[in-house]
Amino acid sequence: MFRAGSYVTALVVAFTLAPLSCDAGPREIVLASTTSTEDSGLFEELLPAFQRAHPEYRVRVIAVGSGEALRLAARGDADVVLAHSPRAEEEFMAAGHGESRRQVMFNDFVVVGPEDDPAGICGFLAAASALACIASSGALFISRGDESGTHARERDLWAEAGLQPRGDWYLEAGQGMGAVLMMASEKGAYTLSDRGTYLSMQDRLQLDVLVEGDPALRNQYSVIVVHDASNLAEARIFAEWITAPPAQALISEFGVGRFGRPLFSPSADSH
């Protein structure tokens, strides 16, 4: 037992150290991004294209909530951020953590819920009143609860509805968008999701879109080059690339094949 254990240990050590010994590979860019872009599969499309355009760089994606993405960038743990939390981004820029901030793309948030809609929120167009209706119906609502961009927007909507969500019906999951959608589907609960993640998981979810199209639900993604980035030049190149026409064209096509419609709309200024 123990002898076998030490062989295994030796093997594990060998395999772990092997890649470290030849570290003169491509230069790394650390991209802190939102879970929604990662869960939707957008990066699987974009990053290989970036790799082809710039084979000398390698992008490492850290998929976390927007709030966390900005915080770890402020600590210097990321070179470039892709976020969708406008207010937090403005604070980030005002604090001098960001060198530049540019729009990349947008989609929208949707309120999703069980197909039979026990709270009966279909009739509402305004997201805030729909949330108020869920609150008064006693149906379950699952909040991201992780200070992500989606969580920030959800709190804005509750504020707009004039409500402090609290009680047995309001669950704070503290997890990413994909996990929360799975949870809502399992529990027959309502939640706020970005459309991209929802569409990319739709076939695995027993959830319908119940509220959409409210201007308060617009979801804008921006790319920020971090001021104190340890790979500043590389970060600039990535931000430049993702806002340039070829990448913007890729974004506008992403999801058309699978969902019949794009998941994101490109919105970078052409310059």
């Binding site: 976390v64 503290g174 997890q175």
Partner: protein, 238 residues
């Protein structure tokens, strides 16, 4: 380094001030892992005793399986339990997913092999003459077996400590099947993940310190048992 020291200082403050958010999560952790280990004992002790005291074809495979159970990856256990408890799964009608019940079930699967494997080792370390002698003196089979288990009791306590230490520090399974819901299924480990992500290092550190204390206590106990064992060995035949 300052960040680290600050986090530890604030963590102590949070713990001493009795922040209800923190203590509720700690008690939920103890409750879930405690129950899982208790159920693990109920299943693992009979299994380990049986494997230790009987000989049958295929026993070698069964022992190997139990020992493999010691290395069960929590995320894989989480995956299986998730599928079984999800709405389309065989036990979906229970509605257990994302409840403490699901977390107890997953941690039970992780804890039971610990208890079984350590019980097995403990039972085998007691000289078999003990049972024979007891039988010769007129004890029933059950009495002889209980005597045998009594001799192995310190090791059994170590089994409890080892199983508990393993499941309470496990995050992979509980975050999948529990969902990290505040006030319901958030436990020490999932809270550390979330608070670190939120950048609230002091809170994360408070949980981390508690977890270290628990792990240390469990291991100190195991060490004591292991150190005490040799001295207890006295000749059974005189």
């Amino acid at each position: 380094m300052d960040v680290f020291v600050d986090a530890i200082k604030q963590a102590f403050h949070l713990l001493v001030s009795g922040d209800p958010y923190i203590w509720r999560i700690i008690s939920r952790s103890l409750q879930v892992s405690g129950l899982a280990v208790l159920l693990g004992l109920l299943a693992g002790i009979p299994l380990g005793t049986w494997l230790g005291l009987t000989r049958f074809p295929g026993r070698g495979v069964a022992v190997a399986l139990v020992n493999t159970g010691l290395a069960l990856p929590p995320v894989v256990v989480g995956l299986f339990v998730y599928i079984i408890l999800s709405r389309q799964g065989p036990l979906g009608s229970l509605g257990w997913l994302y409840t403490p019940g699901a977390m107890i079930a997953a941690q039970f699967v992780l804890a039971a092999p610990y208890v079984a494997a350590i019980t097995l080792a403990a039972v085998q370390s007691v000289p078999p003459e003990l049972r024979l002698q007891a039988r010769a003196l007129g004890a029933s089979r059950w009495q002889a077996m209980l005597l045998h288990l009594r001799e192995a009791r310190l090791s059994l306590m170590a089994a409890v400590a080892a199983g508990f230490g393993a499941v309470i520090s496990e995050v992979g399974a509980v975050i999948m099947v529990g969902g990290n819901i505040q006030g319901e299924t958030r436990v020490i480990t999932t809270a550390i993940v979330l608070e670190t992500r939120r950048g609230r290092f002091a809170t994360a550190m408070a949980f981390g310190l508690i977890l270290l204390v628990i792990a240390f206590t469990a291991n100190a106990f195991i060490t004591r048992v292991q150190q005490a064992q040799p001295r207890r060995r006295r000749p059974l035949t005189s």
